[in-house]
Structures are given as C-alpha cells and as structure tokens.
Point group: C2
Chain length 161, copies 2
C-alpha cells in the first residue's frame, strides 16, 4: 500500500484502535495529517483517564493543537477508525478541520454497545447530522474496519462507557 | 444569597467566566456539583491551551472525572454560565450528567461572535437539540448573565476562536 494515501492513514487509525483495545481502552483510533505529515496519533482514553471527552478524535485534536501551537486546524485532515460521534464532530467543527475520513460506520459502534447513535438521535433527531457542509465527512471502505470491534468483543474484561 | 442554591452555583460559573476574560480567555465558566459540594470549577481555555475542545463545560467534566476517579458523573449537576454548545452537550451526555443549568442563552454567545448557533444549525438543522430528554437542560435567569459577554466585548485585544 502506498504511503500518504487516505487508505494508509485510515489503516493507521484502525491499528491505533486495535492497540487501544489491547491497552484496555475503547476500540477507536484517530490520526491528524497536515501537508502529508502525521501531526497527531491518538486512541480512546475515556476509561484510562476517567475523562468522558477523551475519544480518539478529541484526543488527536488536542495533540495536534499542542503540536502546532494553535487551536484552529484548518489545514489538517482527520482520519478516524469509526464515524465520529456528535461530540467529536462538534469538536472538529470548532477546530475548523475541513476534511474528515472514517472507516467503520456509527452502526458498528452501536453494534458493540456504544451510545453514539443514541446520543445522535437525541441531538439531531436522527442518526446523522442534519445540515452538515457537503463533503466535510466521508466514509472510505477499508478492509479491516471491523477489526477493532472484533478485538473489543473478544475482550471479556472490557470496561464499557 | 443562600449557598447551595442553583443561583449560587450559576453565579459562581458567571464569576469564573468574567475571570476568564481577564485572563485573556473566552467568556465562559462552569461548575460541577455533587452532593452539595463543588467538585470542579473551570473556564474556557481554547486559546490558552491551543485546544479547540477546552470549553468551560468540557474542562469541568475532565476535572470532575479526574477528581472522582471515574468517567461517569451520573450523580453530578453541571452549571454553565452560558447554554452549552453541541460539543459540550454531547460530552455531558457521554458523561451521563443528568442535570444541566445555564444562565445566558446561546443567542448571547452568538451576539458577541461565537459560532455556537452556526454549529448547532449544521448538526441539528436548528438552533437547539431536536429530541433531548425533557428536563436535562434548563435555563435559569440570573441577573449578571450578560456580564462575561460585556467584559469580552470591552476587551479590544480579545483572541477570537
């Protein structure tokens, strides 16, 4: 696989998600790329850090902001192993991230017990954002997109949140 | 004013918001209370920490989680100087916070240049959440609710975000 393609970065996000499960965290990973370089790699740390906001995407946005020394990331692309939840999406909007690619759909997170879809329905009145800018968020099919969730289900001592 | 009332904690959140502007941050403050005790006080640190996610409410949720050693805050009440934006609201939902009180409406934040309403419209298709649980979020009128915004507008060197 060629480096610096969307698929390359999504596979990196998926690998971070699988690693996260091995560390005892949730099955989610994210990567932020600027000008062909990775500026942040992150994974879910909700239970590890006792922090409900520490989803992979939010953690990546924090890391990228710290690395670049600014709160706006308008020249960055966010790659997420799974479709961003309402919190992550709103955080990306505040950070002015112009492009987001994800691998697994939110229904995969819901399948293994996460509340993403339930929270979306309370806020949006439906599973997906109502009037998001066209082209901001795109799914790209990647072969191993379900791997983090299978690792999660296989882990009997998983801590749900 | 009696301690331990909703108004008491909202006034505390407003005072944190005014202090935040003096420190060079955004005009927002938040307090988390559990069993009559303040477990977290926080203010907006987006520009100070180069962190788009560092709204007062999110910062308070992170502090409360760290203080209590858990990611769920289902026995806590969140008091915010202003109506929580979509990011803060989604974070509160992930944290299982059952009651949120705020002082100023989101239109006040919009009036002084913040994107809360614009982001809400992209996600919700309207200014407010579509199907939020009845009673989760309530506005309480507090006399000084506009004070943080006036302090913000008065500050000519304010850093917008």
């Amino acid at each position: 696989m060629t480096a610096n393609t969307h698929e390359y970065y999504l596979k990196k996000a998926i690998a971070l998600a699988v690693d996260s499960v091995q560390r005892g965290g949730g099955p989610f990973g994210a990567v932020i790329v600027r000008d062909g370089k990775v500026v942040a790699e992150a994974w879910n740390q909700v239970t590890a850090q006792h922090d409900a906001s520490a989803h992979a995407e939010v953690a990546a946005i924090r890391k990228a902001g710290a690395a670049l020394g600014r709160h706006h990331l308008d020249d960055c692309v966010l790659y997420a192993s799974c479709e961003p939840c309402p919190m992550c999406l709103a955080t990306a909007l505040w950070a002015h991230i112009p492009r987001i690619y994800f691998a697994a759909p939110h229904s995969e997170a819901a399948r293994v017990g996460f509340a993403d879809t339930h929270i979306a329905e309370q806020l949006y009145g439906q599973a997906r954002p109502v009037a998001l800018t066209e082209g901001l968020v795109s799914q790209l099919k990647v072969p191993d997109a379900s791997m983090p969730f299978e690792a999660w289900l296989a882990r009997v001592d998983r801590v749900e949140y």
